[in-house]
């Protein structure tokens, strides 16, 4: 389905080396190294201003880096785009309001040398029934899917998506990722939805202040935050007393609801039951990716 015969000298779909970009005093991207193998689905995750979009822009040759280099299948970004190896959906790239969905996709196909049939791209992106509609009359989610069709129609090996599901409702988002996974391509997507990264990425690259602060599978990232969380209802809870329990690193109290962040939840739970016999409705949960994300990003801020 994809143009798999591409020679990739170093075996990488994407290779960013020491990539840097400053806007005035702001170091938007401060030295990013990233290697993505063909077939990987990678989420680029980070808070606003982490440098995700600037990194994506440099990867696509839209912004010239101050230092370092970006390569796609061993080629310069512009060359890779000219060769039809990359399809991309950008946050602020627009549609022409006076043009229909089918015309938009047909145009992009016409500009490429070896596109897939327009009807296939429309169907894959779920906009076949909107083909004759002017872009001005599309909803937010429909616009995103139209742009997805435009990214897909060149039959690329690599898809680069910047916040692809930002205007979609939950159901549309799920459909979007279902079609995305069916395409079986190398995908790099920037997002700030943790659940999206968790559910759909093979690998998560976490960025903060222009740097990669963690890179690995969702499980790897989560392992950055060890421990569990114990929640319970306790009569007249005392923050100080609860915080002094063995194994507990942090306490949050809201009414009777107590949340203990624990380095050793087994030890903490025994102590809790011994000192607070009124404890009930006890739950023990593992830290989520969100906790790992918060821990990693605030840890970075403290440095």
């Amino acid at each position: 389905m994809t143009k798999t015969a591409q020679p990739t000298p170093d075996g990488a779909a994407v290779r960013l080396t020491g990539l840097r970009k400053s806007f005035g005093e702001v170091h938007a991207v401060a030295g990013v190294d990233l290697h993505i193998a063909p077939g990987e689905v990678v989420a680029l995750l980070g808070p606003n201003g982490a440098g995700k979009s600037t990194t994506v822009d440099m990867l696509l040759g839209l912004t010239a880096p101050d230092g370092g280099s970006a390569q796609i299948f061993g080629r310069a970004p512009r060359k890779a785009i000219a060769d039809g190896l990359v399809g991309a959906m950008l946050q602020d790239a627009a549609l022409l309001e006076d043009v229909t969905v089918a015309e938009s996709v047909t145009l992009v196909a016409a500009l490429h040398r070896d596109p897939m049939p327009v009807a296939d791209a429309l169907a894959a992106a779920g906009v076949a029934d909107l083909a004759g509609r002017r872009c001005a009359k599309l909803s937010g989610g429909q616009r995103q899917r139209t742009r997805f069709a435009m990214a897909l129609v060149c039959d690329p090996d690599l898809l680069v998506l910047d916040e692809p599901t930002v205007a979609m409702d939950v159901e549309t988002r799920r459909d979007f990722w279902r079609t995305m996974h069916k395409t079986g391509r190398t995908v790099l997507f920037a997002t700030h939805y943790l659940d999206e990264a968790e559910q759909f990425a093979d690998r998560v690259v976490l960025m903060r202040e222009g740097r990669v602060i963690a890179d690995g599978s969702v499980a790897d990232i989560r392992a950055h935050v060890t421990g569990r969380r114990v929640t319970a209802l306790v009569d007249r809870p005392d923050t100080a007393r609860l915080g002094a329990l063995p194994g507990v690193t942090d306490v949050a109290v809201r009414g009777e609801q107590v949340t203990l962040t624990c380095a050793d939840s087994d030890q903490a739970l025994r102590a809790l039951l011994a000192t607070e016999p009124s404890s009930r409705d006890i739950e023990i949960t593992a830290m989520s990716l969100e906790d790992a994300f918060l821990a990693l990003t605030t840890e970075g801020a403290a440095r």
């Binding site: 040759g61 839209l62 912004t63 039809g84 990359v86 022409l96 043009v99 016409a110």
Partner: protein
Amino acid sequence: MNARYLALECRRIIRSGRFLIFSMVMPSVLFLILVGMYGGDDAAYDDGSPVAAAMMVSMGAFGAMSAALSTGARVAVERGGGWQRQLRLTPLSPAGYLYTKLVVAMLVAIPSIALVSVLGATVEGVSLSASGWIIATAGLWLGALPFAALGLLIGLSIPADSLPSVMGLSSMLLGLLGGMWIPAQIAPDWLSAIMKATPSYWFTQLGQSALYDDSHVLTAIAVLAAYTLVAGLISARRFVAGAQRA
């Protein structure tokens, strides 16, 4: 340049009904009104050139100029809306984009020249030599090129929301200073010096050479070519710089 991209751009212009009608019909209406007011049967200027023929050339030039100018300037909308960024994700080169816009602007300039000429030849009974007709049609059309380039430059320089006022003002000024409305001969010296710096003045001179042998025609061609080149080069630089910044 990509033929299917050009075709889509032409379809978009045709769809923009009001814009197209305005740029086509307005110069013809002005032509008929002005000849009705000053043209008489055999009215002629002091230098002997017939009023109807001179007005035909002036209004053809005005129509071609404003059509080329405002079509070129439509790039402002695509710049603000991020469409240029979308196009940079395709193999289309910056040159391919700008050339397509220039060609579209030149195509839009055709109908206004054609309509004014047909009205001149039929309704107003203008008669010109064969070479005169070639200059009044094909010559005017080619002479509109610097205005397509200037339009592009304006479109790449100003925000989309100030486009209508800037376009209205610049067509009006270029028309006035170019002597398309009032013959340059009656202007005072200081004004005529300013007029000679505008591309529209030389565009009008080019058109007037359809009526009588004009020694200025080569100067006119040189000035128009220079404007085309300069506006084209600055546009290309702005386009590349804008894409980098985005």
